[in-house]
Amino acid sequence: MKTEQFVLKVLAQSGKRRSLWLALAGAAAGLFLLSGAMQTTATFRSVMNRQKDLLGGDFLVINKKVSLLNTLSGRPGSFDDAEQKEIGKWPGIGAVGAFSGNRFKVRASFRAGMQASMPGLSTDMFLEAVPNDFIDTDKEGWGWEEGDDEIPLIIPADYLKLYNFGFAQGQGLPLVPESVLQSVSFDLAVYGNGKSASFRGRIAGFTNRIQSVLVPQEFMDYANAQFGEGTGGNPGRLILRADDPSDPALTQRFTAAGYEMAGGDRLRTSRINSLLLLMMGAVLSLALLMIVLALLGIVQFAQILVYRSARDLQVLYLLGCTPAQLAAPLKRRFTAQLGLAAGVALGLTLALHLLLNIGLQQKGFETQALPSWEAFGLLALAVPLLGILLRRAISQAVKEACSG
């Protein structure tokens, strides 16, 4: 009979197996809570950051709070160069872009009958532009060159909602879906500086993030040069590229500096994010507690197993087995069982990921196909750590048993 087989045979005779399985189930549950909490958080965060928008998903718009002072002076707070550079240095901020506005007059008009479903109307309007870096210019035919007759525009999605649910319903006019509006063009008359020109406007896309009407920067620069009156001052609004626009720390920093973040959904997301982080913290603490308890259970089981077989282990030691030789089969067995618990936790986390994805997709959210690497990274850290602690405890118990 080989020493290893014999050690296992001797140990198999002592110890209540049910208590071991309970401890292992506890370990699996703890590990699952750990990776599951991480996975859930990652899934929800990715959903919140993946709202479809023509503008990139990782930017913020800020402005200074409108105060009584600048209302009286008639000049809203603007950002000078020094302030722009300072904001660019903040952690989590990648790039800073300025909004430029029109210094010429713009008049948009829909002629009656131009499109069957649209009433005739005409309105003065304003335009703004942000650097192209902040816009997904490959899509939706964004961009403009001198000589082009057509100007693409991005308008707030809320404008269409206002028309559809406020104006159109009240006036008995037909509702206009986004796709129809995008196929409609309208007249855009531009004049000032003693000159005028006529273009065709086309809605290239909608955004929930910026409460403005955006045109390509190239058109804005051209039109300001041709028709603009006066010189442009410092920008009143900045567009920022942020690593995580919903980072609560960033929100706090803006508030402290007296800036407002445009777009209520960003702030809401930030608040949900804070809540999510708080909940994840609570669940992770619970998971750690469960893991510690489970580890104590497994270690205690291993120690009891060793102490109950102490006489036999001591005789094997006196026959010439080293303590390491005696501990090895025990370590292998417990490591395999810990591996099983980790496998169960891994399987449950994958199942959770799939269920979350199915549930969110049914509600129309775009989800990430791959599970979160953080969840598996956490498992990959926790399991070897548990393994090391367990193996140490077994070595110690066997050494004590050998020395009697």
Partner: protein, 210 residues
């Protein structure tokens, strides 16, 4: 060479004679045969346990080939017991739940000892027909012989036998002593024996008085 220099076990501190091995010191050299005599309770088993590294509660120095054993680790002792010091314990230290053959095989697998050799020894001690029985079903005399075959199933320079024939009749005791002497001679090893009367001890053994 196993050497005691002014080595006094803790329980015998202040209670040793001036001509005892504790005061005079003693060495055991491979190739020699020793029969240890002492009145009951004077430390025969203690001597064996110190030699094996089981007991460390003593003053003085115990060296093996000139090296102080105070620095030995559990792994060092395990190696010594596997490769150099074979032992028949007074309480035998057999596993009662497994068969006699499994008890011996356990040691043989550890030391790479051939099963043909230990089976031949079992044959010689008249226990070959008992090998498949669980040890707990064997008489004390039979168990003693199983323990002796197990002890001999390894390479050794020292064979320590603590009262190895206490449960054997004179004829079986003679078989055991002869086998031990032959194996020791083959390996050029020392034999330390306790528990034999002076008249039963073969003349080749040097007396060691504790």
């Amino acid at each position: 060479m196993l050497t005691f220099e002014r080595l006094v076990p803790a329980p015998l501190e202040g209670n040793t004679d001036s001509d005892s091995i504790w005061q005079k010191g003693v060495s055991f050299t491979p190739g020699n045969l020793y029969s240890v005599y002492a009145p009951s309770g004077k430390g025969k088993s203690t001597l064996m346990h110190i030699l094996l590294g089981i007991r460390r509660d003593f003053s003085g120095v115990y060296t093996i080939d000139g090296k102080d054993t105070a620095a030995y680790t559990p792994d060092d002792w395990a190696g010594l017991r596997r490769d150099r010091i074979a032992t028949v314990y007074q309480d035998l230290k057999l596993f009662p739940q497994i068969s006699a053959a499994e008890n011996i095989e356990l040691k043989a697998s550890l030391t790479g000892f051939s099963s043909a050799r230990w089976k031949a020894m079992a044959e010689r001690l008249a226990i070959a027909h008992l090998l498949e029985r669980p040890c707990r079903h064997l008489s004390m005399g039979q168990q003693q012989r199983v323990a002796i075959v197990r002890a001999l199933s390894q390479p050794f320079q020292y064979l320590l036998m603590d009262e190895p024939v206490s449960h054997l009749d004179r004829e079986n005791a003679r078989l055991v002593i002869d086998l031990a002497m032959e194996e020791a001679a083959t390996q050029g090893a020392a034999v330390l024996l306790t528990g034999l009367n002076v008249q039963d001890t073969p003349s080749e053994f040097q007396p060691v008085q504790i």
